[in-house]
Symmetry: C2
Subunit: 322 residues, 2 copies
DNA sequence: CTTGCGTCTGAAATCGATTTCTGTAACGCT
DNA sequence: AGCGTTACAGAAATCGATTTCAGACGCAAG
């Protein structure tokens, strides 16, 4: 691999001059030409590792997400990418699989690779961002905010969304409305539950705590949770499902039980991914996933550029689909 | 950020000793203890950039894929991750969006960051891997192999899969079977078309070239392609769709046209992602996405470990779902 | 002709970890 | 006691780019 020294030698200049050519400082047009020719000749690609070591910062942004297989997060990733690339940064994705140790491993990588910044959808409420914060690395939380972290955040209004989704079921005449929530230690989940409760209360419906099932935000978890609800003594007549993938699981469980949606109502927080059939009996509240990503990226880029204002939280709306 | 020198000073040893403690070479138990205490005290995280610069190789593997929003590729990513992590490597994902210039940008990043290796599902037949190969970086192609690249590859048997999918339609009695293929410059697409042709020929059915539509392997492309087929003078009675996302688009187009699947048969290459309804009138050939990823990762890891044998190609089967 | 200023260049230090090479101490053996 | 061997530690070079500092040169003004 050709280095800046090889280029310098071939061009008959010093390494400093080669560096200057690639960094836009003043160089004779003559020298610029010679250096560029030499670089092309040698197929020179600057060594980013050396550059990063010297500058103590690279132009890579890490996006840390809990589930790469969830289309919601991949759409979010697209939003991040669009903004970041436009600003000249590369984005790398890190999948934590909801595992805090994997997450902290990736955070260490981000720190020790001197990445420019991190956008993170935390694996848990208790995710520890201190490795980043202590070294005042630019960080933006997206979708989920770890408890007590005083950082920029971009989220959706989970309470309002949960209420809206549940209300759709109420309006359609369902009375005994269950909830399949996400993990108890994930912020978005507790808020969506709060929205569910609020909607029930507003409608004057009884809130039966046994109708709350926790699952894992995955397809299989939603499937199992719905099975548990069906086995209930007093079976619910509708279910508010707190994320897209669990809704898929819940619908599969219904199908396998020979029940078809209007019979049991389903409201999904987040549109069903890649659905092909007109949603009969399924209400959804849709999330601006891509916008979450791009908003987070914009804030991160400002921080990287040196913005020092107080951390702010941007809340986007979840919109009920009619 | 604490460095190895800070740790050395606090522990009263030389930087070399600190390095040895973290790399498992022989050090007095006494020194080991002192160094570890000092490191913990200072919250020391080794600077990977410096390490990589010196060693000329990091322990990060890049996975370059054309469409992060396609569940097939994210499942593949999971396969890669599982293997790579087990071997102590971190995986970063790079999304090229089928764009060769973005792709080559990421390949340059992989080279100039001295990543340990690259697994790539190429954006095109004509993708240029020479930046990697010239510097003999470990590379494995997965899913798609750029034309003429003499490298390790893990693919599915696209011809057999295309034939099997088409044959399912033939067996169900359809006679005028169209094909919605992917981009003309993508290897998997041309092979799946070949499978479609072979099945038609084997069944003695006429092969009408106007029944072949090219699209982009995306949902919207599949939608538009199906609309074009419906507008045909002699409308097809079934369609072989060459990937999962286009099948979603095609089914949506059918739905919007008021046609329901058994009326027009659909065979999808790749299972429908997150489907919730029992597939009526939709045949699928399912792909071992995760296995593709893990097989590719295993080969890459062997190469990284120094394997020098001839490049080999592993072909996995696409299995018709009954 | 000298002074002064501006423009451009190169030498060398720097970022932080790894590793070779050299040196010292301790130990076992004859 | 003398010698060889092993085990460990430290000094210093190294990876490749950036950047400071100082020097060289040209040109204009006095």
């Amino acid at each position: 691999m050709a280095t800046i020294y090889d280029v310098a030698r071939l061009a008959g200049v010093s390494p400093a001059t080669v560096s200057r050519v690639f960094n836009g400082t003043t160089v004779t047009p003559q020298n610029e030409r010679v250096v560029k020719e030499a670089a092309a000749e040698l197929d020179f690609v600057p060594n980013r590792t050396a550059r990063t070591l010297r500058l103590r910062s690279s132009d890579i942004i890490a996006l840390v997400i809990p589930d790469i297989e969830n289309p919601y997060f991949t759409a979010l990733a697209r939003g991040v990418e669009d903004e970041a690339r436009a600003a000249g940064y590369s984005v790398v994705l890190c999948n934590t699989d909801d595992d805090m140790s994997r997450e902290s491993g990736y955070l260490d990588v981000a720190v020790s690779e001197h990445m420019a910044g991190v956008i993170i959808a935390a694996a848990s409420d208790r995710s520890d961002l201190s490795p980043l914060l202590d070294r005042n690395k630019a960080v933006v939380a997206v979708d989920r905010v770890p408890r007590g972290a005083a950082i920029d955040a971009v989220t959706v209004d989970n309470v309002a969304g949960g209420r809206a989704a549940t209300t759709l079921l109420v309006e359609r005449g369902y009375r005994r409305i269950a909830c399949i929530a996400g993990p108890a230690d994930v912020e978005t989940s507790t808020r969506r539950i709060a929205g569910w409760s609020a909607a029930l209360e507003a409608a004057g419906l009884p809130e039966d705590p046994t109708l709350l099932e926790h699952a894992d935000y995955r397809v299989d978890g939603g499937y199992a949770a719905l099975e548990r609800l069906l086995a209930h003594d007093e079976r619910p007549d509708a279910v508010f499902v707190a994320n897209n993938l669990m809704s898929v699981g819940a619908l599969r469980a219904l199908r396998d039980a020979g029940i078809h949606p209007p019979a049991v109502g389903i409201a999904s927080f987040g549109a069903l991914p890649f659905s092909t059939s007109a949603p009969t009996g399924v209400s959804t509240v849709s999330l601006p996933a891509r916008e979450l990503g791009s908003a987070a990226a914009r804030i991160l880029l400002e921080r990287i550029a040196g913005d020092r204002q107080e951390p702010r939280t941007v809340v986007l709306e979840a919109v009920p689909v009619v």
